[in-house]
Amino acid sequence: MKKSKVIIDGKNLVKVYQMGDFEVRALNGASIQVQEGEFMAIMGPSGSGKSTLMNVLGCLMSPTSGEYFLDGEDVSELNKVELARIRNQKLGFIFQNYNLLARTSAFQNVILPLFYNRASLLTEEEQQEKAAQILEAVGLGDRIYHEPQELSGGQQQRVSIARALVNDPVLVLADEPTGNLDSRSGAEIMALLKDLHRKGTTIVMVTHDPEIAAYTDRTIHLLDGKVAREVKNGKEHA
């Protein structure tokens, strides 16, 4: 097996929320590593810190303490502007409720991250070409000018996957990507993600559904803000 690059290297991640007089430790020393090209699931009961871990990994918030290296870059103490750059250039998000801009075409939604990409060398025409190509790749070539309300849930999720990929991220974060879908559309989305994984995309997915988690190489279980156990290829590791 070839030695691959570490994409996520989180050590002792702690996130403390101050709620009035008492504090909530949503993350309490979670450590997590993800290799390049991995497809990993995060599971855990509600309140276990899944969402917080996702937000920290997604650079939507900084951990209270602990170290987080993303693609070799220490991102645990970056400011808002730098975090925005990381989200734009290194990450792609897939949300449970798709989070597409309403009354905005699939095409405009997908090209949005390119608007904010200061490092992109693409010309406007190349950007448009790329957005169209990616929509084609997720199977929406004939619907690129449809607006979200004209698309089914599964199609909307495809748009959001296209959007997540448009800046060639090192990591795709999916938060319950099939949570709002019927089982057939859900299976289609998972097949799409699996396909992306096969082509080399690193994906971390939060889910509460063991069947969905089964699509991945590895599952980590969170409990009380810590990694409780890890399951690989169906086999349990202590």
Binding site: L60, N99, L101, P113
Partner: protein, 418 residues
């Protein structure tokens, strides 16, 4: 992000909410249009007044009796204070650079012409230079001569309106009009239409030799005592006198002051008359209309600010409403300043587009107002720039706070917002 992209994003967001964008702009549209229309009205008024004043004839000097200083105590001789008729001749004969001198003395009387009786008609007794100094043209007949004035000849020249009122289609020449009970005057001419000059309607009065008014129509009980006193002497200065010539208007004024002071036996420090130039009157008038104009501009400015508050209001609502959108943009990499610029640009676009529509509305509105009211309106270029510029400033000023609110949203909170 490149400004063109920000503008594009902001524009797309505005177009998506056409009705709301339009309603938001309404305040700015009205504000900008109001500024332009109000300034157009005051500039039109100002121009009318200015033209009216210069219509009186340029290069005019007004010599007025100042009653306060005139020593009118018992035992004073009539030549001891105020202006007298003869002062006019003295000025005409002894001062260089005087093109004409006019004395006016008015009297208000009931006038009868044939069967027509007109009440409270202003009769203006005046002198031979009146038509040239006042730029009045004779339409038919003739004006009277100095000789006729000296002989107190009972003749009259009518203003155009009055001629029509008295005689209609009939040629007034040679007709007799009766002033008061007994003074009968023969019409020898009619003036061309002159129009209103300031408050005075030159077409609805008639003109006689000043001696008629002084001797026969002055019903003041002090008339005899006052003798040939006049209130006002107009001096038209020769056109060669000006800022660039050797002799200035001030030289002429000084000569007149000196002459009159000597004739009235008063000092220059305590004269019994005041001298005003046409320019003084225009200046006074200008400061009045300028005050009027700035008042209007302030009123209009307030409506612009109100428009700006409207923009802020809608932008704040919009930020709340679009919290989720902001969260999505943040999640795909929009920085706080990207968000701030987007909302600021939206506010700016709203006010610029609103301003542009307002400019058009203002120009069209000024024209319509002018047509409808009969008032003169003059579009002032600077007012267009001022209104448009203020709209832009208002947009930035009132757009900044909502934009900043948007920029400071936490991405997680924003994404979670329902």
């Amino acid at each position: 992000m490149k400004p063109i992209k920000v503008t594009k994003i902001a524009w797309l967001a505005l177009v998506k909410n056409k009705i709301r964008s339009l309603l938001t702009m309404l305040g700015i549209i009205i504000g900008v249009a109001a500024v332009i229309i109000m300034i157009a009205i005051s500039a039109g008024t100002e121009k009318s007044i200015q033209e009216a004043i210069t219509g009186l004839g340029s290069n005019l000097i007004y010599v007025q009796a100042s009653m306060g200083a005139a020593r009118m105590g018992p035992g004073m001789q009539s030549s001891g204070g105020g202006l007298v008729y003869d002062d006019a001749f003295a000025i005409a004969e002894q001062i260089n650079g005087v093109a004409g001198v006019v004395v006016e003395q008015t009297s208000t009387q009931n006038v009868k012409a044939g069967d027509t009786i007109l009440e409270n008609i202003t009769i203006m007794g005046t002198t031979a230079d009146f038509p040239s100094v006042r730029d009045m043209e004779i339409a038919s007949g003739r004006y009277f001569t100095q000789d006729e004035i000296d002989r107190t000849k009972p003749i009259a020249v009518l203003g155009s309106n009055l001629a029509e009122e008295m005689f209609g289609e009939t040629d007034p020449y040679g007709q007799t009009i009766t002033v008061g009970d007994s003074v009968r005057l023969t019409v020898v001419g009619v003036f061309e239409e002159k129009g209103m000059v300031g408050e005075v309607d030159y077409d609805s009065r008639f003109y006689t030799p000043i001696t008629i008014v002084l001797e026969k129509l002055t019903n003041n009980p002090f008339a005899r005592f006052l003798g040939d006193r006049v209130r006002l002497i107009y001096v038209e200065v020769d056109e060669s006198i000006g800022e660039n010539s050797e002799r200035t208007l001030d030289d002429v004024i000084y000569q007149i002051e000196f002459l009159l002071a000597k004739r009235h036996e008063v000092t220059l420090e305590e004269p019994d008359f005041t001298i005003t130039t046409q320019q003084d009157i225009i200046t006074t008038q200008e400061s009045t209309t300028a005050a009027f104009r700035s008042l209007l501009a302030w009123v209009a400015g307030v409506s612009l600010v109100v428009g700006g508050i409207g923009i802020m209001n809608i932008m704040l609502v919009s930020v709340t409403e679009r919290t989720r959108e902001i969260g999505i943009r943040q999640s795909v990499g929009a920085t706080p300043s990207d968000i701030r610029w987007q909302f600021l640009t939206e506010a700016l676009l709203l006010s610029l587009v609103g301003g542009l529509i307002g400019v058009v509305a203002g120009i069209v509105g000024s024209w319509i107002f002018g047509q409808a009211s009969g008032m003169r309106t003059v579009i002032v270029a600077s007012s267009v720039l001022l209104a448009f510029g203020s709209a832009a400033i208002v947009g930035v000023f009132f757009g900044y706070y909502p934009a900043n609110q948007a920029a400071q949203l936490d991405p997680i909170e924003a994404l979670r917002y329902e």
